[in-house]
């Protein structure tokens, strides 16, 4: 075990315990990964960064186009924002280059509460090896518990999440 300096030990410990305590006094609605406002597609003037927007994104925004044109000045009103989604759990599936995935999106009070991966036969993340066919297991991490690597993106799950969200549309 590393012996980190007292200063960093104190910083980390404080951050975790203060944040932990804060988790129980928060008054806002539970767990939405993004605020309701952000869950509305926003039609921004194109930033430099938007030029190479890929197909997935443009089709997403098309699907949502009629719904809203929220702008910057509605801060603080997120709980009042008219919800796009009906409460409930919605399943979505998608294929990608490495396999198929299923997700379950839970909507509570009109907001995305959580996005659970219910099935994943892709060749990684490796942590679901239990569910993988034998030949896949043998060529990868059958003998480690987990793998640390650069942060994977969620691109492989995008289609599945979008399918679930389209079912949840109010």
């Amino acid at each position: 075990m590393s012996k980190i300096s007292p200063k960093w030990m104190a910083l980390c410990t404080a951050a975790i315990s203060i944040t932990y305590a804060a988790g129980y006094v928060v008054t806002e609605p539970k767990a939405a990964p993004v605020s309701a406002a952000a869950q509305q597609i926003q039609l921004h003037p194109l930033d430099k960064g938007s030029k190479s927007q890929n197909d997935q994104h443009s089709s997403n925004s098309q699907a949502n186009q009629g719904s809203t044109k929220k702008q910057d000045n509605q801060s603080g009103s997120s709980s009042q924002t008219q919800s796009m989604y009906k409460d409930g759990s919605y399943a979505g599936q998608g294929m990608n280059r490495i396999g198929s995935v299923s997700v379950s999106v839970t909507i509570q009070k009109g907001k995305i509460e959580r996005v659970q991966i219910t099935d994943c036969t892709t060749s990684y993340p490796e942590n679901l090896i239990d569910h993988l066919p034998q030949q896949v297991v043998s060529r990868q991490s059958s003998n480690v518990d987990n793998v640390s690597g650069a942060t994977e993106s969620t691109d492989n799950f995008k289609t599945a999440v979008m399918e679930a969200l389209s079912k949840a549309k109010a």
């Binding site: 012996k3 980190i4 932990y20 406002a37 930033d47 991966i117 793998v147 640390s148 650069a150 995008k158």
Partner: protein, 306 residues
């Protein structure tokens, strides 16, 4: 038995694996741990103009009282910036937007923070007022906490799980891992370090118990705007660092391993390893020419096996 759940949060996959025979309670505690993730994300996301973070970013020139979660995340980021002389800098958000890292992964909405007039901004433009839990930004800026909050959420989830009586589990937020207790075979958790050039394999593994391991690398998130660039950024040069393909840090806290694996990637083999040794963090760096650099203690401390 072992119970595994996966979620999507902070634009990555979060996996929680628990070794336990109290199956009835597992659901509730995992739900609570996952709630920590979403709560931190909602407050600290720069991909949501209605997050507390983005509200703060637009209120330069005044002292703003913030929630303790946001305060702690920014404080930690600023301390890391000071410790590394700006090799890590949370004020890079606007530049990241302009490099194509501007899309909300759930809604697809793109951020365009035109209220930021200049990219000439650094962590020195953030003042922390501890007594008031207040933050004073000297200029409008977009603060990027992505290298802090995943680790912070993992640490918080660890506390939640332990307080509920679970001691043997692993929490993996897209490669940032905390390994608590032991695995199903009653041994320390075996964690592979991904091989950047063949991602389904790993270059070796460590055995960890009650420690965190985070890897920073340039191989998962390329820039869609500038060929050859990626999501890592040297804040002093506004370019992706070139030397390393991956940098792994092991520490007792996930947030520390998370932030310093990012910082050390930017610092490179020479300065980075020195810094990690000074801080007594275990570190392994992999260069693009497949050379490996270790801190002195890496091999002994973490039972590294290649």
């Amino acid at each position: 038995m072992i119970d595994t759940r996966m979620f999507i949060c902070m634009d990555t996959t979060v996996t929680i694996k628990v070794v336990s025979d109290q199956e009835e309670q597992i659901d509730d505690v995992i739900k609570e741990a996952v709630r920590n993730f979403y709560q931190i994300e909602r407050i600290c996301s720069r991909f949501d103009q209605d997050s507390e973070l983005m509200h703060l970013c637009q209120r330069a020139g005044e002292m703003v009282s913030v929630s303790s979660i946001l305060y702690q995340a920014i404080k930690f980021a600023v301390e890391t910036a000071e410790e590394t002389g700006g090799a890590f800098d949370p004020t890079i958000g606007r530049i990241m937007e302009q490099r194509g890292f501007n899309s909300n992964y759930l809604s697809g909405a793109r951020m365009c923070s035109t209220f930021v007039e200049t990219s000439n901004v650094s962590y020195k433009d953030i003042s922390m007022i501890d007594e008031k839990m207040g933050i004073y930004l000297k200029k409008p800026m977009v603060i990027d906490l992505n290298a802090v909050v995943k680790g912070m959420a993992v640490d918080l989830a660890v506390k939640t799980m332990r307080d509920a009586g679970f001691n043997n589990f692993i929490i993996n937020a897209g490669g940032d891992i905390y390994a608590s207790g032991h695995n199903e075979q009653n041994e320390p958790w075996k964690i592979g370090i991904r091989n950047p050039s063949n991602r389904e394999t790993w270059i070796g593994f460590v055995q960890l118990s009650d420690e965190a391991i985070c890897t920073s690398g340039d191989y998962e998130r390329p820039s869609t705007i500038t060929p050859g660039e990626n999501h890592l950024l040297n804040p002093l040069r506004h370019k992706s660092p070139r030397e390393l393909s991956s940098c792994t840090v092991i520490s007792p806290f996930t947030m520390l391993a998370d932030a310093f694996s990012t910082a050390a990637s930017v610092m490179g083999t020479d300065k980075g390893i020195k810094k990690m040794e000074e801080m007594q963090l275990d570190c392994l760096m992999l260069t693009h020419s497949s050379e490996r650099y270790y801190t002195k203690n890496f091999k002994e401390n973490v039972s590294w096996t290649e």
